[in-house]
């Protein structure tokens, strides 16, 4: 049964603890009845969860983040799927350059991106608007979608599509009935990753929000700069819960390991 040696087990346990530790502390702190950050909590209380309801600007910010995540993840998926199909299977001039361009938001420092977006959006006078946020976030999250969709596109046997064509299906029908279902795990996985990335994006967003479009991470950040009460812990706990639920749902539908590690689309 036990294929890992004692040392390996210790290492794995430490690694897991290192990854999970901060989250556990945050969750622990959120249950404190006191007015300051206390860990471990001296008692269990829902005081700071109730407090969320008394802070409508956090709830508004959460809604904005949710809408922003949905919109930007969807927009970037709509862009990345055709791009991945072209890059993954066609040979054309500038293909590598195009791929590098789509993935470049991963390598450009986010602070630089933030300043650039600020200038760029001002040019079109949409700085601070929801539209501006959606566009910028779509750029930031596209690499994640592209990577996952690309992985599933290259795994598709072209002769399956040829078979559909030979049976009388048009290009669009082949895409809708055959290609899309085959790459769907990658598409859904990419979308979820994009949503999560957008939902907690801070560095770039700080540059381009205004008071009416403040997202949850920006709201939390400005709250921390003024006070440090356990409210931020309870809100973080809710966000962690939301993420875990989303991951569980995706896992149930498609299998997470397959999405994130990649593998045969079966």
């Amino acid at each position: 049964m036990n294929r890992n040696g004692f040392l390996a087990l210790c290492f794995n346990a430490l690694f897991a603890l290192f990854m999970m530790g901060p989250l556990l502390v945050v969750i622990g702190v959120s249950f404190t009845p006191t007015g300051y950050l206390e860990f471990p909590p001296s008692a269990i209380s829902l005081r700071w969860f109730k407090a969320i309801l008394d802070n409508p600007d956090f709830i508004d910010a959460a809604w904005i983040s949710l809408e922003l995540g949905l919109a930007s993840a969807t927009l970037s998926t709509l862009l990345a799927v055709p791009a991945a199909l072209a890059i993954g299977r066609e040979r054309f001039r500038g293909r590598d350059a195009l791929q590098a361009l789509f993935l470049s938001p991963l390598t450009v420092p986010t602070v630089v991106l933030g300043v650039a977006f600020l200038r760029f959006l001002s040019l079109f006078d949409i700085n601070g608007t929801f539209l501006g946020l959606v566009l910028c976030h779509a750029v930031i999250v596209t690499p994640f979608v592209l990577r996952l969709v690309l992985a599933s596109v290259t795994g598709v046997d072209r002769s399956i599509e040829m078979a559909a064509t030979s049976l009388g299906a048009s290009h669009w029908t082949v895409f809708r009935r055959v290609t899309l279902p085959l790459i769907l795990p990658g598409v859904v996985g990419g979308w979820v990753l994009a949503f999560i990335t957008s939902f907690d994006e801070l560095t770039v967003t700080v540059f381009i929000v205004n008071p009416s479009t403040t997202t949850l991470p920006v709201r939390l950040f400005s709250h921390i700069t003024q006070t440090t009460d356990p409210l931020i812990a309870s809100i973080s706990t809710m966000v962690i819960l939301l993420t875990v639920l989303l991951m569980l749902a995706v896992n149930k539908l498609y299998g997470l390991d397959r999405l994130l590690i990649g593998g045969e689309a079966r």
């Binding site: 002769s159 399956i160 559909a164 064509t165 030979s166 009388g168 689309a265 079966r266």
Partner: protein
Amino acid sequence: MAFLELQALNKRYNAVVAVEDFNLSIERGEFVSLLGPSGCGKTTTLQMIAGFTQPTSGKIMLNGRDLGAVPARKRGLGIVFQTYALFPHMTVEQNVGFGLEMRNVPADERRRRVSDALDLVHLSHLGDRFPRNMSGGQRQRVALARALVIEPELLLLDEPLSNLDAKLREEMQLELRRIQQEAGVTTLLVTHDQSEAMALSDRVAVMQSGRLIQEDSPFDVYEKPATSFISTFLGKTNSLPAVLRRKGKKIDIIIDDVRLPGPDTDLPDGPVELSLRPERIELTDEVQATLSGDVVERVFLGDHWLFRVDTPIGKLLVMQRNLGRREAGIGERLHLSWKPEAMRLLPRGEAS
């Protein structure tokens, strides 16, 4: 005009010639194999017929209709791919019904035709399975049913058996032949496996380097190979450089210093290529032997033995049916004989 006609078909990729001046006619209901080593252009030819690749020049006529301007999806051909290319997210029934759905066949007729097609391939009990839960042989038959259900004018098979293990492949050969005959569909098979081509087809067309080099019944291609390439590609053969010399009516074959009585031939005197099939060489005694030699290799293959015998004309491959007795071992002497007609003479200098 034949049912399917490939006329002066050419395919070039920039400077690379994939298919060159290819002509082939197939009659209605015929089963023809395109046989050749990988890279000989047989798959490109199939892709051009299917409409997935545009020929550089030449014509493809099917039942009097020029396919040149017809897109792949309107050609109405049944294709079985090497990987089977089943839709993994659809059940067997949905897979088989896909072509009918694309033709807007009403649901009840569709159900009937799908079930007929599955009956034909003996899979009616597995209609609601997914391909991933099936064996290779079963998937193969689903692919066949899916291609046949649309009642194609022409069935194209791309190395359909190469992903099966040896035993299953033999079973599927018989099965494929039965299904093709029951459906009565004109069939073109592309394969690099000579035994597959010979077992299945009415006619074999051998390709090499983008060209058609022989087109004949399986028996004639095997027995009367047009080139030494074909004689080595189809089955095993002993291929030896020899010199042909006539003395009056007598024909002699000279290899090194050995003079053998030769077969009738139209070839002129001079250097020739001699081809002698290992199964045409018989074991005999010292008196009647054409040649003798020592066994240098011996392999037992169940139903037959293979020997390599070091004779004065070179090392010969000899096949001997297993007669239930122990055969000569390495280092022992074997006496060989064959009829002059067993030797095939080909002009020397063919590419091999």
